[in-house]
């Protein structure tokens, strides 16, 4: 594939901005880890060797305890199975993930009550929350949900916002006027309250929450796109396309959109961090996804309620901080890379 020399230049410029470039690498690794979280953080074993056969329980259906010769019908507790195999010394073995706890699994102890502090010996590297669930597991799986949430939200918001924005700018006139008023009215709806009201009546699932957020989220992009389109549509290449008889649709999406891409791209990372913050704050307030879905907002809430269990608040706040800083650095670097003026500085 041959890239446009301008694009190559932008990529080079982006790579030259070290802070942003490394942030992108870190962010990619974070997403990568979260996508394969089941292999790293799970109460299901990676490999079980039992009576001459090898099993991979990570993905797929649950295997009842009776399958491995235990006396129960529910899902095998692989940590116990491993201990059992070790004491039996029968040649069977189990390989567990690095963090051998699930995202929903509660791990209690005798005579003491959660939250439990971090312990390397028990492989609760960041401790547990107030019902004994592993914090690493909650953080990683929570991150996966948050990032998926904000990426899908971004996609929907931008599709709607950009389409309407460029249409307003391109056609102008009554259509523009009408939509401006609609958007002004719409943007005056206090959307956080609306979401709170909706989710106190029906508990939204993941996609519903995305859609509710999108209903109010597309507005921001329209203004920018409208202005840019007004500017672009007077340019010669648009006039040329019109002269050649291109349809409006073709002009908008084939000629106009690619020329405004720099603006869209620079806004995107900030929208991602906005999405994460929105989901987290909704969860914090208790109006987000239904428990026991792993969520950062819920962890912040727990940290606040259990100040003496410092490990909860510290883990989740540092994770939040790192994620948002990384995304912001990427955003800054992208903006700079796409900036036609070469000497922009950020303070």
């Amino acid at each position: 594939m041959r890239l446009n020399p301008l694009t190559l230049k932008k990529i080079r410029r982006f790579r030259s901005i070290r802070r942003g470039y490394y942030s992108l690498i870190i962010f990619t690794i974070m997403i990568g880890i979260s996508l394969f979280a089941e292999l790293l953080i799970n109460n299901r074993a990676l490999i079980v060797y039992y009576e001459g056969e090898v099993y991979f329980p990570t993905y797929g259906q649950m295997i009842p305890g009776s399958f491995f010769g235990l006396d129960y019908e529910y899902e095998t507790n692989y940590r116990q199975l491993r201990k059992g195999f070790q004491t039996e010394n029968s040649g069977n073995w189990v390989v567990m993930p690095i963090v051998p706890y699930g995202k929903l699994e509660t791990d209690f102890k005798e005579d003491t009550y959660p939250p439990f502090p971090p312990s390397f010996q028990e492989k609760h590297y960041l401790g547990t929350d107030n019902v004994g669930r592993d914090i690493v597991a909650r953080l990683v799986y929570g991150f996966r949900i948050a990032i998926a949430f904000s990426l899908i939200l971004l996609l929907i918001n931008y599709s709607i916002g950009i389409s309407i924005g460029i249409a307003m700018g391109y056609w102008g006139g009554t259509f523009d006027l009408l939509f401006q008023r609609i958007i002004e009215i719409w943007s005056n709806v206090p959307f956080l309250y609306v979401i709170i009201i909706i989710s106190s009546i029906v508990v939204p699932n993941f996609m519903m929450l995305v859609l509710i957020m999108a209903v109010f989220g597309w507005i921001g992009m329209t203004w920018t796109m409208r202005t840019v389109t007004y500017k672009e549509k007077e340019r010669e290449y648009i006039l040329a396309a019109k002269m050649l008889g291109a349809s409006s649709f073709r002009i908008l999406f084939k000629h106009l959109l690619p020329n405004t891409i720099s603006i869209i791209v620079t806004y995107a990372p900030f929208a991602v961090s906005g999405g994460i913050v929105a989901l987290t704050s909704l969860d914090y307030l208790g109006f987000g996804l239904a428990p026991p879905t792993p969520s950062w907002g819920e962890l912040i809430q727990q940290g606040w309620a259990n100040m003496n269990a410092w490990w909860i608040a510290i883990s989740v706040i540092s994770s939040m901080l790192i994620t948002l800083i990384v995304v912001t650095f990427i955003g800054e670097a992208v903006r700079e890379a796409f900036d036609p003026k070469l000497h922009t500085t950020y303070e």
Binding site: M62, E73, Y74, T106, Y113, V131, S200, G286, P292
Partner: protein, 606 residues
């Protein structure tokens, strides 16, 4: 004015006067006491105050917000401070907190009419309002007039005093009868009215609500408001020559001279105030306060004592209510299996620190009306297996039970964020039993609406209690399969209906007790309710100069240090010597043995 006109006017005036005197339904009419009346009284039951009690001292209590009005009726009157005012208002009769027998308050004697809807009372002749006026039968007549009047803007009371109370009959200044609209068991709970001073209110007008916002109404109890500053504090002073102070059940009670309620808007701040000695008592019911936060110098140095007192009173029916209109719960085996899949014991042990107790059924703590033989179904995977298989379910590849392509997955709806940890553990344990619980937390009014409209699978909630068990609302088929009724399990069982009807129609205590127990067994057999927790105790911290009787409370005590309340309040007293000793010790850095009292006198037997 001609003489004619004068005569005419005079005539009209005479007619008006006659009309106003003649009140056909109440005052005049049957004003002769029936002859066969058997007057009863009760000064035989054991007293529960201590004869070591001394008068004196100031008790510092707190309120979370200043009341919006001192009225106890009408708009904005239903705040929490209302009870402090009402607790200083006596009724005709009271209930002994340990024996539940009737005891005298404003009336010295009472009698039951043969029609089972009339009760006669003889008032205590020394009974006085706080302004010195005597309490007379007319004040009870006025109470009903007052409660029925439109001026007080209290539709619920208008309705209640019309539908439940038929009338008050005055025989003389100190003898009266109260008639209920229908014959009923436990009539005394219905007709033991509280008087309202006619001489104070006079004629009610449209201005009532505004006019009486901050008026201090004369009362008959041991304390009266002496001073207040809006938004800051309210002071109550003990009446030095209170008319009832030597009555059998009031002796040695209500000892504190002055009670100060100051506004403290936050529990954490209240805790700090308490530790500084600015408040006298602090509630430690919450596990984190009792176990963690109370590890603080004032308690460890023995200046503040802790008390854990078990009471024996009606327990809220807290648990999981299964909607039997849902296809999955129409099968009794499935309901049983569901109950056996709930690991309530694990929640109590690991989440609630063994501080809560297992509720065995929905009507615990109703004395003889409770059936002690019912035991809630315990977590038992074998029984789940047995019941599910009996109904033709089998475990699918994901470990959940399934039948005809449908998975066992039900929604559990609840409203308190604090309950999430409990439900999370239940969910994980239920997974082992092959059942999926989908947790749904809604805002509390949305939750209740959902339950009343019967749109839930499983309702996680508790009902408030009353002195006698209420079955009809919750389990009679009349209330099933329709919205806005309390039968949220949609129980529709002919045998149950029969029992409940018999219970409601019976006027014999013994029969009612037997029926009540039978109904409870039937509920257990139907298995539509999975009982969860109860908290049959009160836990408090208090400065050591406060003293309580040897048995520090009663079966019904909800707050051991409640300064008012004719049933259980006012048992505490102030010891000035201990106060001086403690203050000196604190100054000198001397410490005492830390004290934690656990009183199990009334603990419910398991």
């Amino acid at each position: 004015m001609t003489i004619y006109n004068r005569i005419l006017l005079f005539g009209v005036w005479i007619c008006l006067v006659l009309l106003s005197v003649y009140q056909p339904d109440q005052a005049i009419g049957n004003t002769v006491l029936p002859e066969n009346i058997k007057w009863l009284t009760n000064t035989k039951d054991p007293v529960f105050a201590s004869d070591k009690a001394k008068k004196g001292g100031t008790f510092h209590a707190s309120i979370l917000s200043f009341p919006m009005t001192f009225r106890v009726i009408g708009p904005d009157s239903n705040g929490s401070f209302r009870s402090a005012i009402l607790d200083n208002q006596l009724s005709l009769i009271g209930i002994h907190p340990n024996t539940e027998n009737i005891i005298p308050e404003l009336a010295t004697h009472w009698a039951f009419g043969d029609d089972k809807k009339t009760m006669y009372f003889k008032l205590n002749k020394s009974a006085r309002w706080s302004d010195g006026e005597p309490v007379t039968s007319d004040d009870f007549l006025f109470a009903v007039e007052f409660m029925r009047s439109k001026e007080i803007v209290a539709p619920w009371y208008n309705d209640y005093y019309t539908k439940e109370i038929d009338r008050v009959i005055v025989y003389d200044d100190h003898t009266l009868a109260v008639v209920a609209t229908k014959a009923q068991p436990d009539l005394h709970l219905r007709v033991g009215l509280s008087p309202i001073p006619r001489h104070f209110y006079g004629k009610l007008d449209k201005d009532f609500v505004r006019k009486y916002n901050w008026k201090i109404v004369p009362n008959t109890g041991p304390y009266q408001i002496s001073d207040f500053q809006k938004g800051k504090y309210i002071h109550f002073k003990r009446k030095q020559d209170w008319w009832a102070k030597d009555l059998h059940y009031f002796k040695n009670r209500f000892n504190v001279d002055k009670v100060v309620f100051s506004v403290v808007r936050d529990t954490n701040i209240l805790w700090e105030y308490f530790k500084k000695g600015k408040e006298d008592v602090f509630s430690l019911v919450m596990p984190d306060y009792w176990h963690e936060k109370s590890r603080t110098p004032v308690i460890e140095n023995g200046y503040v004592h802790k008390i854990w007192f078990f009471n024996d009173t009606q327990q809220s029916a807290m648990g999981m209510w299964l909607n039997q209109d849902r296809e999955i719960f129409q099968d009794r085996n499935v309901r049983y299996a569901f109950a056996h899949a709930m690991n309530i014991e694990k929640v109590i042990k690991n989440v609630l620190r063994d501080d809560y107790f297992r509720l065995e059924h929905g009507f615990v703590g109703y004395g003889r009306y409770s059936n002690p033989d019912i035991k809630a179904r315990r977590f038992d995977l074998d029984k789940v297996d047995q019941y599910m298989k009996a109904s033709g379910w089998s475990r699918g590849p994901d470990g959940l039970w399934s039948k005809g392509g449908k998975k066992f997955s039900v929604e559990v709806t609840y409203s308190f964020d604090e309950h999430t940890p409990r439900l999370v553990v239940l969910k994980e344990e239920a997974k082992k039993a092959g059942m999926e619980l989908r947790l749904q937390r809604l805002d509390s009014s949305a939750t209740f609406k959902k339950f009343l409209e019967k749109n839930h699978d499983v309702a996680w909630m508790g009902w408030s209690t009353s002195l006698r068990p209420q079955f009809w609302e919750h389990f009679h088929s009349v209330n099933a399969h329709k919205s806005q009724t309390n039968n949220i399990t949609n129980t529709d069982d002919p045998e149950m209906d029969q029992l409940i009807d018999a219970f409601r129609n019976s006027l014999e205590e013994e029969e009612r007790i037997q029926l009540s127990r039978k109904i409870q067994s039937r509920i257990h057999e139907i298995g539509c309710f999975v009982p969860t927790f109860m908290v049959p105790y009160v836990r408090q911290a208090y400065w050591r100069w406060w003293k309580l009787p040897e048995v520090p409370g009663t079966k019904m005590s909800g707050d051991l240090f409640s300064p008012f309340g004719s049933t259980t309040g006012g048992l505490l007293w102030y010891d000035p010597d201990l106060f001086a000793e403690t203050k000196q010790a604190m100054k000198a850095g001397k410490t005492f043995q830390p004290v934690t009292i656990v009183d199990e006198t009334y603990k419910m037997k398991e």
